[in-house]
């Protein structure tokens, strides 16, 4: 095996690939050859490092220097300075103004508070190389369960670890496996939910892109534990890079005898197939997902019977999400006790969050359960850009809620989030600042649910639509007395009567914004005002006479002739005609036009 003195790791996640990280790799190879050090330095394509805000990211080992926002043009300098002469390229280093020049990856604020279990190989190994995975203890856990453990021992280990489902529900994984294992049947299935539908959550994609073998290994372990020989990964078709790497990984695992018959010389047999989703949010619900794999419209079915009894093709089935599986090999190798010492009393281990929205360090972070929201937003996330004020963090996507500033010190775990009227969900965490209108956000999520409702049960099909109409009225400046109360009644009834999780949780964004930001609803309905200045119908463009030089540009640009005036009469906007396109404000050379909220 050839040894290299330096390794250049280039992120090949979706975010960085979108910023041309593939071209950066090619350029590195060219430049290394130009400097004749191609035999000393190896360029590796890796999964996501997590700090997507500053991508494309390049890390050089052994120093652990992290270069951010690297362009193809920067590559030559990194090669000639860092790799040839040993001098860091300070202007590209992570950290403000390059002042963190001597800081390595692990000591950067963004990584300091993180604990990487599910993401441990992301940004470390080449996801398209099974050898690298094996070199990092890959398939060792599978070897251990097949040769040293009985299926029941595997289940007990998972139970004792306290691992709960990372897809949203938080159901104890070991108990789920136990149910399925106890079923007597000639055929059972292991499924993986990689249909990551929550807007703003992309940890499952990152694991598939950065460490696909980890999922294969974990599913094989699950197969051994419950007595299944066939697995399905249901993955979003919108994730082409992830699908491709998973395909490569499955092929390689088959070649190495880690999938298929007689795995690792035992009589254990397990095979894996990929099924592509087709863009239906409801297919993230377990029964709907199975109906979809069967080739039908992805409509949920009533439970019981639970999938562990009658799942895919009416056979006992377990379904876990990608992040849940990603924890399994480590739990097997390091033991249940190691895992259960991390986190809080009822939520063990870590959770990956996709932090986004109005925050400086957008990206993926993995933190021990019980870390406070404040630490996530201000320490790891680097705070809110442009000196704006934190208003809320939205977790749990369309099923979750908004957490206001007064609860920033809440330790994040399954139960505390539910108490606050939100939920863990799959781990999307969107930060909102003072410029976000909470009624508009509630409307945004309801629009999503209305669109994604499968239509099977009336509370969800009709109820969410009625809620959406009321929210549309309120944000449109036509809110009526009693609208807020109607929303509350509808929310309560839908929660109580919808068939599946999608419908039962659909009212949550409205309930939580009503709890914490009721004043904003009142402002919309009673005062016809949107305090954040987002809802167009309640906002007016006005011309201030002081800076206005009567040039007339605005009047000529206005697409609906709503502005009148001339050299002597001040220009005014006819609010009846104005369509609030904002062109006048954009074109005014004297900044004389303002938004009036």
């Amino acid at each position: 095996m050839q040894l290299y003195r330096s390794h250049v790791l280039v992120c090949g996640g979706t975010g960085c690939t979108a910023s041309k990280s593939d071209k950066i790799i090619t350029e590195f190879e060219t430049q290394l050859e130009n400097s004749k050090i191609q035999d000393e330095v190896k360029v590796v394509l890796t999964g996501c490092f997590g700090l997507c805000a500053e991508g494309p990211i390049v890390v050089v080992y052994p120093e652990g220097s992290m270069y951010t926002m690297v362009t193809v043009e920067d590559v030559k300098e990194i090669v000639e300075e860092h790799l040839v002469k040993g001098r860091l390229v300070k202007r590209l280093l992570h950290g403000e103004d390059g002042d963190n020049s001597d800081k390595s990856l692990d000591s950067a604020d963004f990584f300091k508070k993180q604990l990487r279990i599910a993401l441990r190989n992301c940004g470390v190994i080449n996801p398209e190389s099974i050898e690298e995975y094996i070199a990092f203890d890959g398939y060792k856990a599978l070897g251990k369960v097949l040769t040293e453990m009985k299926p029941q021992e595997v289940i007990d280990t998972i139970k004792d670890s306290g691992l709960r489902g990372r897809g949203g529900g938080g159901f104890p994984t070991g108990i789920k496996w136990d149910f399925a294992a106890k079923q007597q049947n000639d055929q059972k299935y292991v499924c993986c939910n990689a249909d990551e539908g929550d807007p703003g959550a992309f940890m499952d994609r990152s694991i598939l892109e950065g460490d696909p073998h980890c999922l294969i290994e974990a599913m094989a372990i699950a197969g051994y534990a419950i007595g299944a020989n066939q697995g399905y990964v249901y993955v979003r078709a919108e994730y082409p890079i992830a699908v491709n790497r998973l395909k490569i990984a499955i092929e390689d695992a088959k070649k190495y005898g880690l999938l298929g018959k007689d795995i690792l010389g035992t009589d254990f047999e397990f095979d894996l197939e990929i099924r592509l989703g087709a863009g239906a949010f409801v297919c993230g619900e377990e029964t709907a997902l199975m109906t979809s794999i069967e080739g039908y419209r992805g409509e949920p079915r009533p439970r019981p019977p639970f999938p562990a009894v009658k799942g895919l093709w009416q056979k006992p089935t377990i379904l876990n999400n990608v992040e849940t599986y990603a924890n399994i090999p480590q739990i097997i190798l390091k033991g249940a006790q190691w895992f259960s010492e991390i986190g809080t009393e009822k939520s063990k281990g870590t959770k990956v969050f996709a932090v986004g929205g109005k925050i400086n360090n957008t990206g993926l972070v993995e933190i021990p359960m019980g870390t406070t929201l404040r630490e996530v937003v201000y320490e790891i996330g680097g705070g809110i850009p442009n000196g704006k004020k934190y208003k809320a963090a939205q977790t749990g996507g369309p099923s979750g809620g908004c957490i206001p500033a007064s609860h920033l010190d809440t330790p994040v775990d399954y139960d505390s989030l539910i108490q606050l009227g939100s939920m863990m969900g799959s781990g999307g965490l969107i930060v909102m600042d003072e410029d976000t209108c909470m009624v508009d956000i509630a409307k945004f999520f309801l629009e999503f649910t209305v669109d994604e409702s499968c239509g099977k049960c009336p509370p969800c099909r009709i109820g969410t639509k009625r809620m959406f109409e009321i929210l549309e009225r309120i944000t449109g400046g036509k809110g009526e007395e009693g609208d807020v109360e109607k929303l509350e009644i509808l929310a309560k009834n839908i929660k109580a009567s919808a068939l599946c999780g999608l419908g039962q949780t659909a009212p949550n964004p409205v309930i939580s914004t009503l709890t914490y930001f009721r004043d904003e609803y009142t402002a919309h309905v009673k005062d016809r005002k949107c305090p954040a200045g987002v809802c167009k119908s309640m906002m007016q463009y006005v011309i201030s006479t002081e800076p206005c030089k009567n040039c007339g540009i605005c009047a000529r640009q206005c697409p609906v002739d709503a502005i009148s005036g001339d050299k002597k009469t001040p220009y005014v906007i006819d609010q009846e005609k104005c369509v609030k396109c904002g062109i006048c404000m954009e074109k005014c050379p004297f900044k004389a036009i303002f938004k009036n909220v």
Binding site: S19, G55, F202, A278, A280, R297
Partner: protein, 164 residues
């Protein structure tokens, strides 16, 4: 085939043959319908009723079942798409960072509404679900190209690139 999609003429037969191969390949698989539709859409660009009929006959299921599945999933389209498919990510992260304004600008500049295709077949416009590039929000994609961290002012320049 319907007569109004010029982009298909001449190749119709060849693609129909390929579709039969796809159906044959998947016929024995459990739950074959959705994988077949994925590949059929890749082949034709969309799923007109004629294609759905062929799939139904090939797999031995009713046309209503095929149509039911096609209309249930947003990935499947009954209408042709443009040569350049513009998608605006409407995930939460993009939305709070102004994806709505970018969509408005695209509508204005292209003269299209969401899910419409321009008359010359060059552009189609879609508002899509989160593509998971939240670190780059707001994001639009034009076919395989991704544009991140953009504002409404960048829209015109992006469209121009594809007109030439």
């Amino acid at each position: 085939m319907s007569t109004n999609n010029c982009c298909c003429c001449g190749q119709v037969d060849e693609r129909d043959e390929k579709l039969q191969e796809i159906i044959k390949k998947h016929k024995e698989t459990k739950g074959a319908l959705i994988p077949v539709l994925h590949e059929a859409q890749e082949l034709y660009g969309y799923l007109p009723i004629e294609v759905q009929k062929m799939v139904a006959e090939g797999l031995g299921v009713s046309l209503s079942e095929v149509y039911g599945v096609v209309t249930f999933y947003t990935q499947f389209s009954l209408n042709p798409k443009g040569k350049y498919k513009i998608q605006v990510c409407m995930g939460t992260a993009c939305y709070v960072k102004g994806a709505g304004q970018i969509l408005d600008k695209l509508k204005e500049k292209l003269g299209l509404d969401v899910d419409q295709c321009s008359e010359d077949g060059l552009f189609s416009l879609e508002a899509c679900r989160c593509i998971g590039a939240c670190g780059l929000a707001p994001v639009i994609t034009v076919n395989e190209d991704v544009y991140g961290r953009i504002g409404p002012d960048d829209v015109e320049g992006i469209i121009k690139k594809y007109k030439e």
